[in-house]
């Protein structure tokens, strides 16, 4: 039996798809049979990030409707042994697949793979509920921004209510220099609010954009710091104890961005008499 891990975030654009693609490939490279499932029906892009766009024939909606088998729909990655992808439909909407469809597909994939990585759409509507329905574990991705953290918090609340117990956090796109200057939330700032276990921190990396555009995964680029971080996270998922190099993210005491923000909001032009 494999593990089904859903990658979610609430807010869009924080790096769910990049995380899904890189973790899937890292797990496959470690010898685990892995499939990445795109559940962002109507706005699919996991196939693009993984460089499999031109090979999509069938998609998850076809499978849910019983028109084709899973084996027909999934795409085998040419370069990475043991890596597969199940694409989302680009033309249908998110209601084309139900929670029960997802549970069924999840169970079937679990029999055939060591890891099933589900890329969740942004938001907390039907697509989100589909994506978490079958999950054994959840990885919440956030960036160190107040809005992303707020949405992640909301999502964690929903997940707790849905009795999902294994929740882990990835903080993506951290800029150590900004944290040092007190201009960005530190890892500590984020984990203090979200209070779930931290799986890893991925530094901001411009090379990711290049990777995404070419459909070349960051983990294959030796110069990519983000790629390195994703590999580390994959090793942690596999149960290895990986100590991160001295946390770049250490908070500068008292100069955290939260305090600056507070002063900005409440300090400057507060006409309140209190």
């Amino acid at each position: 039996m494999g593990r089904i891990i859903t990658i979610t975030s609430g807010k869009g654009g924080v790096g769910k798809t990049t995380t899904s693609a890189n973790l899937s490939a890292s797990l496959a490279l470690a010898g685990k049979r892995t499939i990445a499932v795109d559940t962002d029906i109507g706005l699919r892009n996991l196939d693009v990030v993984m460089g499999l766009e031109n090979r999509v024939v069938y998609d998850i909606v076809n499978v849910a409707e019983g028109a084709v088998s899973l084996e027909q729909a999934w795409i085998k990655h040419k370069r990475v042994q043991g890596l597969y992808m199940l694409p989302a439909s680009q033309s249908r909407n998110k209601n084309a697949v139900s929670v029960n469809d997802m549970k069924r597909i999840g169970q079937e994939l679990k029999q055939k793979f060591d890891y099933v990585i589900i890329d969740c759409p942004a938001g907390i509507e039907q697509g989100f509920q589909n994506a978490i329905a079958a999950a054994d574990e959840i990885i919440v991705v956030t960036t160190p921004e107040v809005s992303a953290v707020r949405d992640a918090d909301r999502v964690i609340g929903l997940l707790e209510n849905a009795s999902k117990e294994k929740l882990q956090l990835i903080i993506n796109r951290l800029k150590p220099a900004m944290v040092k200057r007190g201009e960005m939330m530190s890892t500590g700032d984020v984990t203090e609010i979200l209070a779930i276990s931290l799986l890893g921190v991925v530094p901001d990396d411009e090379k990711i954009i290049v990777s995404t555009n070419c459909g070349e995964l960051a983990i294959f680029n030796p110069a990519s710091v983000a790629g390195k971080a994703f590999k580390t996270i994959a090793r942690r998922l596999l149960g290895e104890e990986v100590v991160a190099p001295r946390p770049v993210e250490a908070s500068v005491n008292g100069a955290g961005v939260m305090n600056k923000l507070k002063h900005f909001f409440f300090g400057a032009n507060d006409t309140h008499p209190a």
């Binding site: 918090d153 929903l158 209510n161 909001f265 300090g267 507060d270 209190a274």
Partner: protein
């Protein structure tokens, strides 16, 4: 994952029922009834905290729930949900949760329902036309909880919650609320009387939502987005922020003084203010007023 759409959990001696948020309401009701029937009176006498998740419940839904609970000798104690629920106004919640509900007979129950609807209408209009208004105060039609007039002199009940409220989660309770955990940004806690937070208050807290001007909000770490007491509303006051830095934050209390909400160190090192939370009773109200200055 459990296959039952309703989870039973013991919480500090009360019974918490968590409703699966994917399940249609009618089926939940049937399920609840079946489950209680098969429990053979095991839950009789227990106070029920209902966790409804993000679902929207109508007043009729709540009535149906309450009827079932009453039939099995259980009482509706508190409601815990998420998201701005447009269908239930806090006013109706307060009426539903008011302490007198449990022991009322069938007859008076129908009165309550019509009363609840009346209050529901009232919330859309101005509920507190005569309340005084501080300079920074603003009217609070939305979170105002209307409680039965008779409740003012009864000792307020207290709900103990051991969890962190995350963004979008709301707790409404007609009495006092003690929360052990944090209130994160975007979360809200609304109490008819006092609120004590053993943790960080980063979201919104409304105390004295029934119009109680003596209500206070206590927190170990006070960094709220908004504080509301009675019909007063304020953002985080300035002096608070200096103390809120890092983990060195000191406990603070917010209350109404001279028509505005003020926040000060808690406990104060001046003559100690009696903890209203413990002392509130029929005669304590007047003596409660802090007599500094």
């Amino acid at each position: 994952m459990s296959d039952s759409p309703i989870q039973f959990k013991g919480v500090n001696g009360d019974l918490m029922l968590s409703l699966d948020w994917g399940e249609p309401f009618e089926q939940l009701i049937d399920h609840l009834e079946a489950q209680l029937k098969s429990s053979d009176g095991f839950f009789r006498g227990s106070k029920v905290i209902l966790e409804i998740g993000p679902r929207l419940l109508t007043l009729a839904d709540l009535d149906a729930l309450r009827d079932i609970l009453a039939r099995f000798g259980m009482t509706f104690h508190a409601l815990c949900g998420m998201g701005p629920d447009e269908k239930i106004k806090p006013a109706s919640l307060a009426t539903l949760l008011a302490p007198r509900i449990p022991d009322s007979s069938r007859d008076s129950e129908s009165d309550q329902i019509s009363h609840a609807e009346k209050v529901l209408d009232a919330t859309t209009a101005e509920v507190f036309p005569t309340a005084s208004r501080g300079r920074a105060g603003a009217r609070l039609p939305r979170t105002s909880v209307k409680i039965q007039p008779g409740d003012a002199h009864a000792p307020a009940k207290t709900l103990l919650v051991k969890r962190t409220l995350r963004s979008g989660q709301v707790i409404n309770y007609a009495g006092n609320i003690i929360l052990i955990g944090d209130i994160n940004p975007g979360a809200e806690v609304v109490a008819g009387h006092d609120i004590l937070i053993w943790g960080s208050l980063r979201g919104t807290a409304s105390a004295g939502a029934a119009g109680d001007p003596l209500a206070s909000i206590f927190a170990l770490h006070m960094a709220p987005s908004q504080l509301r007491i009675g019909d007063h509303i304020t953002r985080s006051p300035r002096e608070n922020l200096l103390a809120a830095e890092g983990h060195d934050a000191l406990p603070e209390v917010a209350k109404i003084e001279n028509g505005t909400i003020v926040v000060e160190a808690w406990p104060t090192n001046k003559k100690s203010i009696p903890l209203k939370m413990n002392l509130r009773s029929s005669s304590a109200e007047a003596a409660d007023k802090p007599s500094r200055e």
